[in-house]
């Protein structure tokens, strides 16, 4: 894992870019590493937001779901790239990852569905369904799109061996 920092001068004034390169096999070997990496990213990046605790909790939750999902889609030897950018009140997370050939089509279908608004009905049907035994787990990405207003845009390369996803996480405290 190689963290890289760019353009960081003052927490409150400079937009930060933060990159991590992780081998998918590391996460597959120890699932709890998804949690560790998500918390690490969240704790670091949340300093950019005024509502820090809210941001940290949100970023960790969203990042963990992506790490859990994409690490299971990737060949073990493939690299995952996670890049975070602070943009006004949003956090933009870009993820590049390898893709197992057997999973490319259902993954493309899911990304296409998540590009539109996720209805309550759609999300609840996934939430209450049994955990899939084969294939990949689609609940996590559906949950972050539904519960956290996350916008997900993704594309696969021509050979369908590599995917790029952009995730925009709105960091706002709801009126509660």
């Amino acid at each position: 894992m190689e963290p890289t920092l760019h353009n960081r001068t003052e927490d409150e004034v400079s937009p930060l870019t933060f990159e991590l390169h992780i081998q998918a096999g590391d996460l597959q070997a120890q699932w709890k590493r998804c949690n560790m990496v998500a918390n690490y990213i969240a704790e670091y990046v949340s300093y950019q937001f005024s509502e820090r605790e809210w941001a940290e909790n949100l970023i960790s939750t969203v990042t963990n779901e992506f790490l859990e999902a994409v690490s299971s889609l990737s060949p073990a030897e493939a690299d995952l790239l996670v890049r975070c950018r602070h943009r006004e009140s949003d956090l933009v997370i870009e993820i590049e990852h390898g893709l197992r050939p057997d999973i490319a089509q259902p993954y493309a279908t899911l990304l296409n569905e998540l590009a539109h608004e996720v209805s309550d009905e759609y999300y609840l049907s996934r939430l209450t369904a049994n955990r899939p035994v084969v294939g990949f787990n689609q609940l996590g990405l559906t949950m972050v799109a539904h519960d956290f207003g996350v916008r997900i845009v993704g594309s696969l390369n021509n050979a369908k061996t590599q995917a790029s996803i952009q995730v925009v996480v709105p960091i706002r405290t709801p009126h509660i």
Binding site: L58, T61, M143
Partner: protein
Amino acid sequence: MKYSGPTYSLSYDPIDQQINFEGTLRIADQAETTALFTYLTQIHDLVQGTLRLNFRRLRYINAEGMRALSLFVAFARGRNALTLKIIASAVLAWSVRSLPNLCALWERVEFLIYDQNFYKSQEIVEDLDFIPILRNQTRILWPLEKEVLSRHGLARGMRVADICCGCGDVPLLMIRELAPSFALGIDHSEAAIGYARNLQREFNAHNAEFQRGDATALLIDDASFDFVSCRLSLQIFSQPDLILRELMRITKPGGRIYVTGEDYDLIIGSPEEKAIRTTYERAATYGDELGMDLRNGKKLYGMLASARLEDIRTDHIVVDTSVADREAFAAVVESWRDFSVFTIGNRLGLHEADRDSLLHGYDAHLRTIRRPHGYATWTVIACSGRKPLTPIA
């Protein structure tokens, strides 16, 4: 009954019929889901009426954790014997955003955010307008309280937590003048914590941290601080014992818990003694109506003794016109006057005559403070105790 997973624990409290979730519930596989589901269904069958699921100390969950909860809701719906009450924390984004989905699965699932309106005066105390009051109070209290904190055990190199730290000025002053190794300030007010972080930059204090948190469900490890303070805050909560329990939990065995409280019975002045006393008695009564106990200073000793703390020490921190800067003292009373007459007055819908009466008393107090030979006091009671080395039964 307790169930522990790799990074989380669930414990059942039969008195409240409540399952408390703690830690990070990021489920990895089907076996974990099954174990969690089995535990929940066992508890289900022990309960009558309402089963509370308390998530206020569960820092994170993943989608598989939510799936396990949805399975449990489906189970409860099938039995149709209980109502489920889901308790979230406003501090935890996931709990506010994800848990309400469970209500859509069954009409007998209720959802509440515990720390939303959890004390009556929350909205006004957590407002940015409250910060000048805190700053003014610190200006006259700190020179005296600094000595008291030392007498009560705060010493160089300690790890200190200040719970309900408000705008953070006191933890930063502790760092500057009493040299703990680290100070953590926690408050529920987003405005106060934002202010504290700015102040921290001005103080250039690198060994401090400020976090937003719920004082009755702190996301802090057990026994992690040498000295834990909670100043002028227990008085605004209707259930201060819930906070004291958390203060005790995070204090190391042998460490000290330090609390302070106001006592409006001890605010006196002369001349104009009667007008001053009448006003503070009235203000305390209005405080009662907002769930505050502005006479709680005298109760702190009993609270700590009942909690079986050892080596209890008490002090009166008396701000009086013989030692305090009169204008700084007057600034405090002016901020109390505005808060009491206008903020609380508006909240309680006080009549014009009642407001005028309050104003009259505060103005009398201000005249006394500013009169060259006038004498006035504000007394804060400080009380601390040592957490026993062996667990309290």
